[in-house]
Symmetry: C2
Subunit: 426 residues, 2 copies
């Protein structure tokens, strides 16, 4: 590999998401050689991925090439590579693009969808794990309407127009809301021959409330809002299987649907299971308050992959804000370690959380206050534009949002077949 | 299929491109039931597809859902369907979504890439036949740079940084220019470690000039412009094969390259070869001046698929303007036929042609005058924004162009893996 000889300590960062990127940026100019690895060449702003899945935004608008973010930082190199193993003893990161030795390694590979051992669901449902998954869901949703308008079979049309979202966290709530708006406002203009009273949208949650991480009042508010929009919210419902368009429940009930979207949970990226470490719930890796492995101080783990309990005894939530703050701490601690200074423990500054439900409908907890309705929606808009990387992306997203808001339309409704041909020339 | 009983003459239009769409729109309100079929749910503005392939634009920005174009026209239905056969005797269009009977059928399925019987090229090269092909090319171009920066092997880096465009028509010229600008202006910022003097861009043309359909002076101008930008333009060069990254020429020469882009020609869509008709060069179907089959007056063929000679004895060129004018004539002739009036022959109003090469560099023939340089480039911009369908698309494309122009950057550089999982639920 074309890596210049390391004259300084080599830091390899695995994963260029919210956390890994903060480490890289905050080590700019530090006396270390940084190698940032990611399987993709871009940084995705995942909080807006559900809008790609519902034809509101284009993938490129929520993605920024990682190299663009790192321009002008001389001590960083970036490689697109799939990490296969981390050899803690030899201190080498093994990838499909070769092996990279390290002195310090930062593991921040994020999460994967947790199907909780339901292989039928994993094989047949949609999720929001990455851009191709979101595009596949968008294509599927639109194709359901295309097929529904072309059939005379009532049961078949019912199956095609029944949309089930499993999981009442922010992703499930935002998806159910966005699909409802797509169905109520956009599709009737495209399919005047279709009876939209047949459309069913279900949001299923296994526990007894939506948005478990939010204050109870906001969870109930979200439930009322979704119900008023026409979503059938069902709490205390557990899914057990899905085959041949038949979704089965623990209580023996069944539902015929062509669309199950799995938003019921995440687990640490598969890399976690390949490491010689103990693992907590959801494959998260326990770390010290300084974000190192207890017995390997040169291995740092952060973000969604790390398991660290806060002052309340509960693990820190798997949120972008946690990952970003942990990324900055890892960068600071790496420099303190180099300089022989004592490391600092992680302290989380809780910036709150928010979820949008629809037009002028959102819930938010910010500055320890609860917000809902129009004001929460504006807050949501502002925060997401602020955190979205790249001037061009901000402008394009704002234009798309303004267009959707004013016209009750969604622009990105073209269904592009995905290429099948492998790129044999590389 | 959920098609209301036809009470009027049924017109089935195959293909919703530039031509088919004009037929549909100009039959709005006429006493016919129109069924428009296309394998895609969108209308693509193909003249800008090369910008998708070179990271300048996003696919959705050059695509408009066909249903959006047809909103509010009561006598039109649209179906996403792949046409498999047209049975002239039974008067039925057979598709993967069922059979559709017709009284009049309009065949306007456009073109496919013509590989002139070179299977190696077909298997290994890239082309611009549709959106997935353009996205595959974009991903490939960016991945070539990612791989090149990661290798120490000089020959391998040379192979990865050698880009060959075959075909000196407008598509080849525009692609060669856009790849050159991507390479010269954008990539060096992302890959500071790479020596860009190693990049080679070849434009190969089998005849003795570029832009054969343009006046000779503009072909020479385009050649000088491309050469000044660093493109190696070679005329009179014929490609015979391509395997294991080795491009072979008729004169025995070879070139090691990971990227061959085939822009050497088109032929009528494969549907043409399934019809019981004689075919001209490039599988085009001979039609009467009224755009019917001579022996089947209820079968209309137009656009790139139709073969009709103009007053100069040469077939009309395969251009959007020809297809659109022919589409309008077919609509008019269909109504005249219904009313028992004599049909009108096709007269082409030549609006000219243009090709862009780079920043403030284009060639155009408009109003029988030759234009080049900055003024041609502005004309090109204006015409393409004007013809691009959809207010939202126009705004987004203009913003992307302004961004690229001002920053020398290209926004759409993220490489999204294409989904492999089949949609089993439909």
């Amino acid at each position: 590999m074309h890596i210049p000889p390391a004259t300084q300590r080599r830091v390899v960062i695995i994963g260029a998401g919210f956390g890994g990127q903060e480490v890289a940026k905050h080590l700019a100019g530090a006396p270390v050689d940084i190698l940032l690895l990611d399987r993709n060449n871009y940084y995705g702003f995942w909080p807006l991925l559900y809008q790609v899945a519902t034809a509101g935004l284009e993938p490129q608008e929520i993605a920024l090439p990682t190299r663009a973010l790192l321009r002008g930082i001389p001590n960083i190199q970036f490689r697109v590579a799939q990490v296969e193993r981390v050899d803690f003893d030899r201190r080498v990161v093994a990838t499909d693009q070769g092996d990279f030795p390290y002195d310090e390694v930062v593991i921040s590979a994020g999460t994967a969808t947790n199907f909780f051992g339901l292989p039928e669901i994993e094989a047949q449902s949609f999720d929001l794990k990455d851009v191709p998954a979101a595009v596949a869901l968008r294509n599927h949703l639109i194709t359901c309407f295309e097929r529904a308008v072309g059939t005379d079979d009532v049961a078949e049309r019912q199956r095609l127009l029944c949309f089930v979202v499993v999981g009442g966290g922010p992703t499930g709530v935002e998806l159910a809301g966005a699909i409802t708006e797509l169905t109520r406002h956009v599709m009737p203009k495209d399919y005047p021959a279709l009876d939209f009273a047949q459309v069913q949208i279900h949001l299923l949650e296994a526990t007894n409330r939506l948005l478990a991480a939010f204050p109870d009042r906001l969870g109930r508010k979200a439930q009322r809002t979704l119900t008023s929009m026409g979503v059938n919210v069902q709490l205390g419902v557990s899914v057990t299987g899905y085959q041949d368009s038949c979704l089965r429940f623990e209580d023996g009930n069944q539902l015929s649907t062509a669309t199950v979207i799995w938003a019921a949970g995440v687990k640490a990226a598969a890399l976690a299971t390949t490491l010689p470490v103990t693992r907590q719930r959801g494959d998260r890796i326990p770390v010290t308050p300084e974000l190192q492995l207890a017995d390997r101080p040169e291995v740092w783990v952060l973000g969604d992959m790390a398991y660290l309990e806060g002052p309340d005894g509960k693990p820190y939530p798997q949120l972008a804000t946690v990952a970003m703050q942990q990324g900055r701490l890892v960068a600071r601690n790496l420099v303190r370690k180099l300089r022989g200074k004592p490391l600092e423990p992680f302290h989380y500054f809780d910036k709150g959380m928010m979820a949008t439900i629809g037009r002028r409908r959102a819930v938010a907890r910010i500055w320890n206050m609860n917000w809902s309705g129009t004001i929460a929606w504006w807050l949501w808009l502002g925060v997401h534009i602020l955190y979205l990387a790249g001037f061009r992306n901000r402008v394009l997203v704002l234009i798309n949002w303004a267009y959707s808001y004013l016209t009750y339309d969604r622009g990105a409704r073209a269904v592009f077949a995905t290429t099948q041909r492998a790129d044999d020339t590389l």
